[in-house]
Chain length 317, copies 2
């Protein structure tokens, strides 16, 4: 599959940061940035621009705030054509924290939003676009949105939003390929002046195949993470996507190297990937937070009880 328009965004540090309060050290982030750059990946997302008035820098690592100075430090001296992205959440960012693009190492800002907040997301996105950034809107938890809400959001985004890319996000890892086809085709039909992207979660081992499915139906922006590192079950593995895409600009080998050298050891410290409670959350289209809490508890391997807790009402369980 070689289509020149396809762009990959490696979100390892950003989505992986949800598993360690964004406390990756500079050395690790530099190694990931180097590998992603050497692999020829188009974008790398390093974290969130959250307001320090809302979240304490004592409690969270620097990649929850992504100060330009911290970014400049980890990219210093590494040859790269990879563009840097950061994510902002509706109601959690202070737009004044963002300098005009020309004064920042950041190229792209992605606004994450539930469908109910789409008006706020569009307003925030347009502010960022006016500062000169490439912009995207990520519609989270799309598996929980009703069809009429999705139609309306896509129409609004097409008409009112300055974003170059609209990303469909399967936050719960609940989508099967038929629904990915349905959503991407719908997006392509309504949103004609922007690119469509896809961000998968791997609860049911469908992150990679759903991303391929999105590509088949003409999504051109795909999120992936190295060795699938990301919240709970993680994401579409970068190495698999590079193996699938035949675009000569990509090279899988630097990604294989950094997995050998950094990610095998990391997996001993942080748990992500195919774990049954995350699969159950995906099957039942639930946010992974209950499964994440279970994995921190003494009942971490009690899968049947966890299933019952999600499907039975409290007086039955």
């Amino acid at each position: 599959m070689f289509r020149e328009k396809i762009k990959l965004l490696d979100a390892t540090i950003r989505d992986g940061g949800l598993m360690n309060a964004h406390k990756f050290d500079d050395r690790f982030v530099r190694e990931v940035y180097r590998a992603v750059s050497d692999a020829g990946i188009d974008y790398i997302e390093l974290g969130y621009k959250n307001s320090k008035k809302l979240f304490s820098p004592e409690k969270f690592g620097k990649w929850k705030f992504c100060d330009d100075e911290d970014i400049l430090k980890v990219i210093d001296g590494i040859p790269s054509k990879t563009k840097i992205s950061v994510m902002v959440d509706v109601d959690r960012v202070d737009p004044a924290d963002l300098k005009p693009k020309k004064n920042s190492p950041v190229t792209m800002i992605r606004v994450a939003s539930y469908i109910k907040d789409i008006d706020k997301a569009i307003a925030l996105c347009n502010q960022m676009a006016d500062k000169g950034y490439e912009t995207a809107v990520n519609i989270m938890a799309i598996s929980k949105a009703l069809d009429n809400e999705i139609n309306e959001a896509f129409e609004q985004l097409e008409k009112e939003c300055k974003a170059q890319v609209i990303n469909i996000v399967d936050s719960n890892g609940a989508l099967y390929q038929e629904t990915v086809e349905f959503l991407v085709k719908k997006a392509r039909a309504i949103i004609k002046t922007k690119e469509i992207g896809f961000h998968a979660h791997n609860n049911q081992q469908l992150a990679f195949s759903n991303s391929i499915e999105a590509i088949i139906h003409n999504a051109n922006y795909i999120d992936c993470t190295i060795y699938g590192l990301g919240r709970a079950a993680g994401n579409c593995p970068t190495e698999l996507m590079l193996g699938f895409l035949k675009n000569p600009k990509y090279d899988i080998r630097p990604i294989l190297d950094v997995i050998s050298k950094e990610f095998i050891a990391l997996r001993q410290q942080i748990e992500w990937g195919y774990v049954i409670p995350y699969a159950i959350a995906g099957i039942l289209d639930e946010h992974p937070k209950a499964a994440l809490a279970l994995r921190e508890s003494a009942q971490k391997e009690n899968y049947r009880e966890f299933w019952e807790s999600l499907v039975l009402s409290p007086d039955e369980a």
Copy 2:
């Protein structure tokens, strides 16, 4: 997705046996048989009927031979509607070892064959059918077969073979969903009097999605294994397939239980699942044997070198 005709075959003990020389103890096999039966799964495959003249019972466990007496011992006293299947390999079975169906606990015999051996497979399959068994032919390593060979094999199977089911087997875990669609549609077009089945390997985390793809295009027999246990990267996880299928006859909970109680500990003893060398073998459409050997060596995490060893010629590497 509820289609009454869909039948699941749980191949945990058979495909998993490739990782431990078929040395599962009776207690473990009983627990798996109980869970598969309680889950309402249609078939369970316990191993191979290999000739003891060719393979030593000292070197291999009993599930490489599947004597009727051994099968009767592990199923004794467990209520079940699940039919028992065993696999035979072309040139590795002595047909005289198989009693007539009416004297055996086995219902189905599946003949595994590379496409080049399809004449032998048909002859063997028809012998088994004449003994009264339900029969199937599994065409292994289909990703390595040429299109004209596949056409010819499908035509022969339709005309000459008494099997009820023809299974397409992605031995290398190399297929993407577009090729699964292509192959299953082709099979359905040529093979009109039998059912089509699909057996996936999970090298690229595509076993489940490829099995769904096969179902979408009217394959009605699907192989799966509990927690994906199987050779190298393993197979389509039974628990995910049960979560996907909405057939009321299936119950996911016994499978969740047996994973909790048996498979988490087993994974500490046997390595299967998403491991980068298996992913590399899948990406490059290679048999997993080189990757399996790598995982037994001191170079087990040297992924780039393993990649180079498969893609470069010996004088370049």
